[in-house]
């Protein structure tokens, strides 16, 4: 085998092992979802129809529940959006919404039953009474034919737009009794996608254009990228996003810009060795680079080799937590283990803000500390980066270990789950 073939084989292995782990998580998640049972309960319905006494499945095309009173008279109708709309994805996954109709077939109320999105975003949507009650009074037929929500006075919730938009699309798709209509919201290219595409192109230009005049304007591009990607769009690549995509699906049609960003983050380093996302796009990387540039050198802390070696395990251990969370559906908000959601600070949780602040403080004294010793997402991009040598590295063994661990955990999921849940 020539060195070039060895290098190619190593890269195929690395991409393959990541895809294999993703496939294991996906098939396991689907298995749990199919076997799981989340029927609408009478208690849930009673928040809108206190007289509800019984729920009967409707075998008609609407596929919901007839709500009956104590005299067995129909007083309403309830539907849940899942599993029919599991392909409609918010920020990182689908949303299960209950819609309750009155006797006249118009909406009495809606409630979020479950969401794969960031809990703080979901809470923002739930607390937006204007949004939650915007559906009330509208008949089934009207909602099922909505194409433009603004015309019906339904607007997404600021700061949780992707989650609320997913809810809007899920409700309309669920109410369209044609099953084919419930497969997504169709291809939509929005200004956010254009902005992301421009950022990717500018980042690629910074990586590949060696012209001196262009290099002079790179600081301006970095500031623009930091502001637009971090604070305006908030579409930073993160573990919570990838796990949501793996468990549900990749939202090619709904958020093509974010998908392009993720593709660029994986493929550009894999093909060219240039760490496009980490080096030229990631706002947290830019923030650390500025700290490194402007904090005087005398404040810098030099780590000894043992500490460096040990700390480099942290991103891999965080990936282990991500894997365990995905496989055992642990109540861990994955957004909280990374700093990226903190850039949308209004909707960010305390954990992600704490990680962002602490990582920046540490990075002020240890250059690029978070990128080197804390970032699980960066580790994934680095892992698939085209290798400069064709030797089997420690990270290849660790990745294989993750694959084996994922396989074993899935095989013994039941007993391990029982052991975890055993009350001491």
């Amino acid at each position: 085998m020539s060195p070039r073939q060895k290098t190619f084989a190593l890269q195929v292995y690395r991409i393959g092992v990541l895809l294999a782990i993703a496939w294991l998580i996906r098939s396991h998640s689907t298995n749990l979802r199919v076997q799981g049972n989340r029927p609408i309960s009478l208690t849930e319905v009673r928040q809108f129809l206190p007289n509800a006494a019984d729920l009967k499945p409707d075998h008609g095309p609407r596929g919901g529940l007839l709500i009956l009173n104590q005299r067995k008279q129909r007083i309403g109708y309830a539907v849940r959006t899942m599993p029919k709309t599991r392909d409609i994805v918010g920020y990182s996954g689908p949303i299960d919404v209950m819609v309750v109709f009155g006797k006249d077939d118009s909406v009495l109320g809606t409630s979020i039953r479950q969401s794969y999105d960031t809990p703080s975003h979901v809470e923002d949507v739930e607390k937006s009474y204007l949004f939650m009650e915007a559906w009330n009074g509208k008949p089934w037929e009207e909602i099922s034919t909505i194409e433009n929500f603004g015309e019906h006075n339904i607007w997404a919730v600021s700061g949780a737009s992707r989650t609320s938009e997913a809810m809007m699309e899920s409700i309309t798709a669920r109410l369209r009794t044609d099953a084919a209509a419930a497969t997504g919201r169709g291809f939509a290219w929005r200004w956010q996608d254009t902005a992301l595409l421009v950022l990717i192109i500018l980042g690629a230009a910074c990586a590949f254009v060696k012209d001196r005049r262009f290099k002079k304007i790179q600081p301006v591009i970095r500031i623009g990228t930091f502001v637009v990607l971090g604070f305006v769009l908030g579409d930073l690549l993160a573990q919570s996003l990838f796990i949501g995509w793996i468990e549900a699906r990749i939202p090619w049609a709904e958020t093509p810009g974010v998908v392009l960003l993720a593709l660029a983050a994986f493929l550009v380093p894999a093909i060219t060795q240039q760490p496009l996302y980490c080096q030229y796009l990631c706002p947290h990387g830019h923030a650390q680079r500025w700290l490194m540039k402007y904090v005087p050198a005398r404040f810098m802390v030099k780590l000894d080799p043992d500490s460096k070696w040990s700390l480099r395990w942290l991103p891999a251990l965080l990936l282990g937590i991500v894997l365990l969370t995905a496989l055992f559906e642990l109540p861990v908000d994955l957004a909280g283990i990374e700093p990226f959601h903190a850039y949308l600070w209004k909707a960010a949780g305390i954990a992600t803000i704490a990680v962002a602040i602490i990582s920046l403080i540490v990075s002020a004294f240890i250059p690029m500390a978070y990128c080197k010793f804390g970032c699980p997402t960066g580790l994934l991009f680095t892992f698939v980066r085209r290798p400069t040598h064709n030797r089997w590295a420690k990270r290849d063994t660790v990745a294989l270990g993750f694959l084996v661990i994922a396989f074993i955990l899935i095989q013994f999921h039941g007993p391990i789950q029982d052991w975890l849940l055993a009350t001491p």
């Binding site: 799981g36 309960s41 043992d306 040990s310 937590i321 055992f328 109540p331 009350t423």
Partner: protein, 135 residues
């Protein structure tokens, strides 16, 4: 090498205690709350068989309800308290986030558990008028 192992071990302990352990504890608590609800539910059915209605006082605390069920022989012993991780203290359990509610005729009931003593966030509701799943 020993120093490296110690540092990596410390990182593992830190991550487990900060992230994994609280998550597992939350799962265990959730499971234990469901088990408590199911235990009380079974006792309530026995109560109903004997008295042909459920306890008539709405708004009973978990302690009061459990004491009543024990007194009438429908619960053999105090159940496990998921919030203290000890056996329920009768008659006055200080950590009690369970509430019993019934209708005017005591023909149906709901067992409601809260996340905290403030009783703002409902954790689980078990309603007798439906075959409700706690899964």
């Amino acid at each position: 090498m020993i120093r490296r192992i110690i540092i990596v071990g410390a990182i593992c302990v830190f991550l487990i205690s900060l992230v994994l352990l609280p998550a597992v504890r939350e799962m265990q608590r959730d499971e234990a709350v469901k088990a408590l609800l199911l235990t009380v539910q079974r006792a309530m059915q026995d109560y109903h068989v004997e008295f042909e209605n459920y306890p008539t006082t709405s708004g009973l605390s978990g302690s009061d309800l459990i004491a009543l069920l024990i007194e009438n022989g429908h619960l053999e012993e105090p159940p496990y308290n998921p919030w203290t991780r000890r056996t329920w203290v009768i008659p006055d359990e200080p950590t009690d986030y369970l509430v019993y509610e019934t209708d005017g005729l005591a023909e149906s009931y709901a067992l409601i558990t809260y996340r905290s003593a403030a009783r703002k966030k409902v954790h689980h509701t078990l309603d007798s008028s439906e075959n409700q799943s706690l899964e």
